[in-house]
Symmetry: C2
Subunit: 438 residues, 2 copies
């Protein structure tokens, strides 16, 4: 173990005890102070960003990074303004801490409360996005957590400058600077992933490879999803125009998003009618089709590549759509369970019973009826802020808001009660009465 | 990979899809049918148990197993009756599935529901308790989950007979027998722990060693706790009689329980008054004391062994109590964070501000004021059934009821809405209106 990473994590853990009990006002003030500094120290940030961009220029010329990554990396006045605004928006959210989830009278004068509280220490491993620093920091502070950030190498100078600003703002707000800290390099990251006693939750932000690496290399709980292989099932009783609209949106609105559709399953009873309509529509939208044998037979006039068996679980994240004809809703559901990533699936149908069957049986974080998979998103769900999307089943599933960064504890207030008094012949009896939450 | 374990797990996974959508009536009927069979097939079960006991006799004579384990292993008519009764009690609980946790109108005709549903497949690894089979099976069925059981070698014959009864009852109730299955042996168990795609939650039931082994050897989420190192802090403003009563209960009511106290922290201002009273009381209850330097100095007349630094995190699970004098409530809290297991801690004080500080700052699943740590228990909390106690922070913390075996999914019902309509100049607007849960 590198003692510097252990020391840093220990300092963050200690600081986490303080932010955990800071008042809402203190936490919000620190977020707002950091947001203000972003704008005031614009020159300093842009200068740091220039250093990252200089290194990135070479990589871009050598074709080692994409233009898209280069653009994400680039700070501008406008981006800084957006970053500051989005920190302010987090400060405005309702306090996720101290919410009473349940109140029970166990006996007269013995009251149990289940109360939300912070997780403790978050570790966030991200790639080339400077805005990850400010967004995650704001979410962590809002939820009373400390956070250790590990930026991608290509954004280190910018991240360094941002973290320094946040730490300064914390100190000026009277909170420990160590609530937010940063580590660099792969070795430090892999040490951090081994610190299951120090870190309560790891949040990877970036490519599928990054998420899979993190999931495979830590015993700390991970909030995230490696893939989004979402399905649209066009049922025998579908409204065909609605199906076309939904597939168009689910595929082309933002093909790189995890909630974009990768596969359309079409009930065989309408395959000959629907598939040519779909093929026309997709051609107009520059979407290439791939298909099962049945699809290709019907769409002989369109150039439809075959889908190999293992390709049904491929996330194209591009203007490519796989199409399969299925003999029944049961086969559609089986296909989703076999090849899906449990992210989000939708059924298009006018048959209410078929819809309810699909919603009940499909085991995914999001199950939709007559709506685009693209609605699977924290903002659209009305969560206020999105911490991430989870395809885990435990803790948080689907789009995760601030509550994903909290846990709860049981607070019991008594007057000297002992457990043995509730046993035996003269036992006192528990009342177990649910009380209003106040 | 042993193909038989993979095949078995695949069959259970398939069956899990069916129990997940079985009605409450079907699930309850299966539980009740199994409970009835327990009593009807008593002879068969006792005969199977006799085989386990014959093997255990030899081990007992050789001193390789304890009398306590032998007793736990032994089935009797009375125990079978209790097992059946406790299955019936689980059937009587409220249905944990299909509960609507939140309903939001995203837009007119676009309604989002967050609905509880089963986790999928549970794996339960347990030691010498025949009743683990029936209790876990009932809880799994009630919560719509399938379950793979791995019994300790010493209880295999009994577990086999019990599982056969449950499988037969399932089949007779019209549900797949593979909702409940059993594997034997360490190799099979270690394969199972590697099947993160097949199993959603592992529940170890048994010794600290078993729990630690499971935690260290799987990436599947584990529900459990290896240790319970619970603290009683006797504050400067404590009612001394109340403190004695609470410590007595927390230590002696059931010393082997995870919610029994291991360490008492005493504020130095009352150490000279309180410690002799505590020593007298503990002597009367056959509790041996261990202490810090200050404690031993005050209790010179009592034989108090020293506590080595690393012993503060030892779970005695016996009539042994460690005592430390602390200069302040802050030091008490630091001690708990340094040496505790985040299970349950209590403060004894008449000072409300000190109590609230302790309840807010101590980062444990249970934080109590003027009540025994022994209340940290699913039954006492009024949870209906206890699936386990968790010192994890994610998913479920503290005593876990049936809801710990559930997750949720987001169900969205629309009328053809697409996401891109909510962007751009003529964008539709989300209403994000919370609706009654019905």
């Amino acid at each position: 173990m590198n003692s510097s990473v252990v020391d840093l994590a220990s300092a963050v853990k200690r600081a986490s005890r303080q932010v955990a009990v800071a008042s809402r006002e203190e936490r919000d003030a620190a977020i707002l102070a950091a947001a203000q500094c972003l704008e005031e120290l614009r020159e300093l940030l842009l200068a740091a960003n220039t250093k990252d961009l200089e290194a990135a220029n070479g990589l871009l010329a050598a074709g080692e990074i994409s233009q898209a990554l280069y653009d994400r990396l680039t700070l501008t006045d406008k981006k800084l303004e957006e970053m500051a605004k989005s920190m302010q928006a987090v400060a405005d959210l309702a306090d996720p801490l101290g919410r009473i989830l349940q109140r029970t009278e166990l006996d007269s004068g013995l009251i149990l409360e289940k109360v939300t509280c912070p997780l403790g220490v978050l570790a966030v491993i991200f790639e080339a996005r400077p805005d990850a620093v400010t967004q995650i920091t704001a979410l962590a502070l809002k939820s009373g957590n400390a956070v250790i950030l590990k930026p991608g190498a290509e954004v280190e100078h910018t991240a360094d400058a941002l973290v320094e600003i946040v730490r300064k703002s914390l100190a000026e707000s009277g909170l420990p600077a160590d609530i937010v800290a940063m580590i660099k390099g792969r070795d430090a990251a892999s040490e951090l992933l081994n610190m299951s006693g120090m870190v309560d939750l790891v949040i990877p932000r970036g490519s599928k490879n990054l998420v899979e690496y993190v999931q495979a290399n830590t015993r700390i709980p991970v909030l995230g999803h490696a893939e989004g292989i979402c399905h649209v099932y066009v049922d025998a009783a579908a409204d065909l125009n609605m199906a076309l609209e939904i597939i168009d949106d689910a595929k082309t609105d933002y093909p790189a998003a995890c909630n974009a559709a990768e596969t359309v399953l079409v009930h065989e009873s309408l395959a000959t009618t629907f598939l040519p309509l779909l093929a026309e529509r997709m051609r107009a939208k520059q979407v290439r089709l791939r298909g099962c044998k049945g699809t290709r037979a019907i769409l002989r006039e369109f150039s439809v590549d075959p889908v190999a068996e293992n390709q049904w679980q491929h996330e194209y994240a591009d203007l490519v759509l796989a199409v399969r004809v299925v003999p029944s809703i049961d086969e559609a559901i089986s296909h989703i369970h076999e090849y899906g990533s449990s992210h989000t699936e939708t059924i298009v149908t006018e048959d209410r019973a078929a819809a309810e069957k699909f919603l009940a049986q499909v085991d995914s974080a999001g199950v939709f009826h007559n709506a685009s998979t693209r609605f699977a998103d924290g903002y659209r769900y009305g969560l206020g802020a999105e911490v991430g999307i989870s395809t885990n089943k435990l803790h948080a599933r689907g789009p995760v808001g601030l509550e994903g960064l909290t846990t709860y504890k049981y607070v019991l207030r008594g007057g000297g009660q002992v457990a043995r008094a509730y046993r035996g012949p003269d036992a006192k009896r528990f009342t177990h009465r649910l009380l209003p939450m106040k």
